[in-house]
């Protein structure tokens, strides 16, 4: 059976897995943004926290994904559901680029702009939300783009612990030595990664050139 025929005959299954895959990635990314951006802001406010926070995020990054899934498996609440565990692991991976780019974006705000904001009588909160964060959005988006592409790739490995997603095809294909099956996981995952890169990149580009 040709690859094309294989995709055609399994299209429902492939679409279903892609949706599962995307769901894992989207939830993890939202969590990583919700945690990473405040942590990044915290680092810019309390510079002594830079080492511990960026350090721990970097360490999480260096753990091989398969090992990280394995480490988390025995934990009580986490290990109970495979998708829950996969989301936590993916969030950990996505954190570093998001924290780092939040910090870089805020630190790149021109001192004269921040000083003008302070001199106009803006509170620290107003400076953060109306000046620093909006101005660092392009840099932050670049971090989100990198994190999204990574997590889309790493999420295929989540199938090893039964979290579903496109990795299912790849692991099954490896076990059955079936290239069509492997590609049924690998190609959609690659397409998702490229699409995420392009779409987020487009937003980034627009923001950079809007001013």
């Amino acid at each position: 059976m040709s690859l094309f025929q294989f995709f055609l005959s399994h299209r429902d299954e492939i679409l279903q897995s892609s949706a599962e895959h995307l769901w894992l990635v989207v939830i993890s990314m939202l969590l990583a943004i919700a945690i990473g951006v405040p942590l990044g802001v915290l680092v810019t406010r309390k510079p002594w926290l830079a080492k511990p926070i960026l350090g721990s995020a970097s360490v999480a990054e260096t753990i091989p994904s398969l090992a990280l899934f394995g480490f988390l498996l025995p934990l009580p609440w986490l290990g109970a559901r495979a998708d829950r565990l996969a989301i936590v692991a993916l969030t950990l991976y996505a954190l570093l680029p998001i924290i780092r780019n939040t910090v870089a974006g805020i630190q790149a705000t021109e001192p004269s702009i921040r000083e003008a904001a302070r001199a106009m009588g803006m509170t620290d909160r107003q400076i953060l939300f109306r000046v620093e964060l909006p101005l660092s959005l392009p840099v932050l988006l670049a971090g989100i783009r990198v994190a999204a592409v990574w997590t889309i790739g790493i999420a295929t490995i989540a199938a090893a612990i039964g979290a579903g997603g496109l990795g299912e095809f790849i692991f099954r294909g490896l076990a059955m030595v079936d290239n069509n099956l492997i590609l049924a996981g690998a190609i959609p995952a690659a397409v998702l990664a490229i699409a995420a890169d392009l779409v987020i990149g487009l937003f980034e580009h627009r923001l950079r050139h809007a001013r």
Binding site: E115, A116, A117, R118, A119, M120, G121, M122, T123, R211
Partner: protein, 263 residues
């Protein structure tokens, strides 16, 4: 102390000092009264402490010793946010927000003060006209779509937006080409004649100080050398003031002799 002096002085420096760890004293024992409605020029070279003195007024910096009183209250007694919203601030590269249109930049403080939309709108238009920019043409533009002089005009409009009684200007025209700078100085004089703010103006340019200042306070290495009326400054005997005047005169003399040689 005489209560009258509190009323007449918009700003008072009382033995104000500012030290920075590792840099020593940047400003030493500065005592200075700035009268309501005057334009006081702080003249000095870079590192003389003039910008530091300016930033002590709106509490971007806090004095290491002594105090600065604004409208009779020490800056440390003021809520810094309230204080700053009563003091306009214009800096060299304007410091406009690049992601705000001209309209939003000018409307910044009125919006922070939660003015009604109509009031903000008419105020922005009034201010843009006042600084010589047509609102219809400029209100929707972003700072990067403006020339340096136009940006600086917007900076002045933004500083005046909530009608603050005090205006601080830190070399506002320093980055402009000579023609635009002269134009802006003229317009500033005309504007100041109408709005009568208390202005503290920092510059290193003697010519600018002489044109714009009601009085000139000369700073050198963190210390106040003296305070002069512009006409007295040209005849000042104090060596540092005399040195400024000498350079200023030398420029004019060498220029006129060159012109004579050419003709």
């Amino acid at each position: 102390m005489n209560p009258q002096s509190t009323v007449d002085n918009a700003i008072e420096f009382r033995h104000a000092e500012f030290r920075l760890l590792g840099h020593g004293a940047i400003l030493k024992n500065l005592s200075l009264h700035i009268r309501r409605g005057e334009t006081l020029v702080l003249l000095g070279r870079s590192g003389s402490g003039k910008t530091t003195a300016l930033k002590l007024i709106n509490r971007l910096l806090e004095p290491s010793a002594g105090e600065i009183r604004v409208e009779g209250c020490s800056t440390l007694e003021w809520d810094p946010i309230r204080l700053r919203r009563r003091i306009g601030y214009v800096i060299q590269d304007a410091g406009l927000f690049p992601h705000f249109t001209v309209r939003r930049n000018v409307a910044l403080v009125p919006n922070l003060e939660a003015w009604t939309e109509d009031r903000v709108k008419s105020r922005v238009e009034e201010l843009l006209r006042m600084v010589g920019l047509d609102p219809g043409q400029f209100a929707r533009r972003y700072p990067h779509e403006l020339s340096g002089g136009q940006r600086q005009r917007v900076g002045v409009a933004r500083a005046l937006a909530a009608d603050p009684p005090i205006l601080l200007m830190d070399e506002p025209f320093g980055a402009l080409d000579p023609l635009t700078r002269a134009e802006m100085q003229e317009e500033f004089l005309a504007l100041q004649g109408r709005i009568e703010k208390t202005v503290v103006f920092v510059t290193h340019d003697v010519r600018e100080a002489l044109i714009l200042g009601t009085r000139i306070a000369l700073l050198e290495a963190g210390e106040l050398v003296g305070i002069y009326a512009p006409q007295d400054f040209l005849g000042a005997r104090e060596p540092i003031a005399a040195a400024y005047v000498a350079v200023f005169r030398a420029d004019i003399v060498s220029l006129s002799s060159r012109n004579r040689g050419a003709s």
